[in-house]
């Protein structure tokens, strides 16, 4: 496998994530799509770090991204839980009380 195959996989993942964020209306599904985008970036980081013989900062970056994604998911799930308690649904379009 060369660098390009990894980049293509990450680009596909990124596009899938983008598509999911735009089309999905379920809060948890949107969150999962965002995770796809973050992991696409992770694949990029590691592939670049591995194939260009550079330092390890790409590996370290992806570790930080994984940690932050977990933190973000925890907060987002808590908020979605709250939405479910108050609105009775996790469809993000239902959470639309404010005037446009």
């Amino acid at each position: 496998m060369d660098l390009n195959s990894y980049l293509i996989i990450s680009a596909i993942l990124f596009s899938l994530g983008l598509f999911g964020v735009i089309t999905r209306r379920n809060g948890v599904a949107v969150l999962m799509s965002i995770e796809l985008i973050l992991n696409a970036a992770n694949i990029n980081f590691i592939a670049f770090s591995r194939y260009s013989g550079m330092d390890f900062s790409g590996h370290i970056f992806s570790l930080f991204v994984i940690i932050l994604a977990a933190a973000e998911a925890a907060v987002a799930l808590a908020i979605i839980l709250n939405i479910f308690n108050n609105f009775g649904s996790i469809n993000i379009d239902d959470a639309n009380k404010m005037s446009q």
Partner: protein, 498 residues
């Protein structure tokens, strides 16, 4: 500088860290009713941090923690901006009835933690640190936006914020990964060196794509069009003191990060400390930023006209102000950055002031509608006069600080050359549009049929806090030499000598 040596230069931040820990411990020992006392611990910590910052050497420029963050006068002035704005936000939070009878220990702890994130945002020169600090600020913002968890609009604000925020930081991260692949390093200055030493005509497209993705992330943070859709709902739904804080501090940090990031990445060698800066060829980042700036001003102002809710109006006006400030960044001149910092300082006082008056009125009269403000100017002259002052200043009329800020911005645009005249014209036209909706509030307060009959004098605490916000707004409009010199002395950046 290595990690151990760096600690000597990191004392204001360490005091904040200690304050965060201390707030959490104190919160354990307080009942829900008394939990607001954590605010005093946070205030003391902020004051101590401010004192240690004040006595730190103002002109030192160095990099800390193995070149991941820097210490320079530019980051120092922003640290003061964050400490002042969070100090005022905590005082406002103590006064508002919106947060009464809630457990507030975490609230004040999170605000203190957010200051730390904001400070790191302005000082990071490493992609890892930039991403970490932005996420630190964002994650705390999500929690604070949804802090009133039994209130539906607060929930809605939080979910909108978290989805837009996580999405745009994902885009930015993908941009970072491309940038890392192109240059082979995560350090901004080394990236700059790599970009200059290579003929990058063949990597041009990927550089532009990664720039656009990164701008999506940063633009979300400072709420510029077309990444502004979250702003009005989040600002309306969040607790109002938090809204006031969001509209000032993370925006200021976003602009500081943008100035440092763009200029150390795309600038010519030693771009930040010389008089006129040169950008690398091939990436149209200046044109893109100018277009976004014009778009932001127009969208912010045109939609603000139609608003009936004061918080939403101030939200759109803050979008418009982000557009004005953004004008100063792509000019590639010291004047431009000077105007950006100057404007952020005057904007802090007038924006927090306008929000605070809307909080006092919402507490007293239970309304956020502009029509319901009728008669306040006569029944409560103090609030009327100060609200008019903040509105004049937000419009940019003399003799207020907002006028001086706008004057420096437009002067920087005009001085930068004839190719920038069009953006100055767009900016002036937008100021005229903004006159309409700001003056509408003043008109309703004084000239509409009176809705409010009983006279109302705010508490002494409110009067004092309003004076703290109001006096600089008028004083910097008449006598701004001190702040001019302060900002001027702060425009020194850390540049590594290879």
């Amino acid at each position: 500088m290595d990690n151990i040596q760096s600690i000597n230069f990191f004392i204001p931040e360490l005091i904040l860290v200690a304050t965060i820990a201390f707030c959490l411990i104190i919160d354990f020992f307080l009942s829900k009713k008394n939990s607001f006392n954590v605010a005093y611990v946070a205030l003391i910590g902020i004051i101590l941090s401010g004192i240690s910052l004040w006595f730190s050497s103002p002109l030192i420029t160095t990099s800390l923690f193995l070149n991941s963050i820097v210490l320079d006068p530019f980051s120092r002035i922003f640290k003061f901006i964050f400490l002042i704005s969070s100090f005022i936000t905590i005082l406002i939070s103590l006064d508002t009835s919106e947060l009464k009878n809630r457990s507030l220990g975490e609230y004040f702890t999170l605000i203190t933690a957010m200051i730390l994130g904001l400070i790191l945002m302005t000082s990071s020169v490493d992609l890892i640190m930039i991403y970490l600090s932005i996420e630190l600020v964002s994650i705390i913002s999500f929690i604070l936006a949804g802090y009133l968890r039994f209130k539906m609009i607060s929930n809605e604000a939080a979910i909108k914020y978290v989805i837009y925020g996580a999405f745009s930081s994902g885009l930015m991260l993908y941009g970072f990964s491309l940038l890392y692949g192109l240059t082979g390093t995560t350090k901004l200055f080394e990236m700059n060196k790599v970009l200059f030493s290579h003929d990058f005509s063949h990597i041009n497209l990927s550089l532009i794509v990664s720039f656009l993705l990164i701008i999506a992330g940063l633009g979300y943070k400072i709420a510029i069009a077309p990444f502004h859709f979250w702003t009005p709902d989040v600002y309306e739904g969040s607790p109002t003191p938090i809204t006031a804080f969001f509209s000032v501090a993370p925006k200021a940090a976003g602009f500081a990060l943008m100035v440092r990031f763009l200029n150390s990445l795309f600038g010519d060698v030693n771009p930040l400390n010389s008089e006129n800066w040169v950008s690398i060829e091939g990436v149209p980042w200046q044109a893109i930023l100018l277009l976004l700036s014009a778009l932001t001003m127009i969208i912010g102002n045109l939609i603000a006209i139609q608003q009936e809710n004061v918080k939403r109006l101030l939200a759109y006006s803050s979008i418009a102000h982000a557009g004005y400030i953004l004008m100063g960044i792509p000019l590639l001149s010291k004047d431009g950055v000077f105007a950006v910092v100057f404007y952020i300082i005057v904007y802090l006082f007038m924006q927090l002031g306008a929000f605070y008056i809307s909080i006092i009125i919402a507490d007293k009269y239970k309304t956020e509608k502009i029509e319901d403000y009728a008669g306040i100017g006569w029944q409560s002259p103090f609030l009327g006069i100060l609200m008019s002052l903040f509105m004049f200043s937000l419009t940019g009329l003399p003799p207020t600080a907002g006028f001086i800020g706008k004057f420096y911005l437009f002067a920087a645009v005009i001085n930068a050359g004839t190719q920038y005249y069009w953006i100055a014209i767009v900016g002036v036209l937008n100021s005229v549009i903004s006159l309409y909706y700001y003056m509408r509030i003043v008109k309703v307060m004084y000239f509409n049929e009176k809705n409010i009959q009983n006279s109302f004098v705010p508490s002494q605490f409110s009067i004092l806090l309003l004076l703290i916000l109001g006096i600089p707004t008028i004083y910097f409009g008449v006598q701004w030499t001190y702040i001019h010199e302060w900002v001027d002395s702060a425009l020194k950046f850390f540049i590594p000598n290879f």
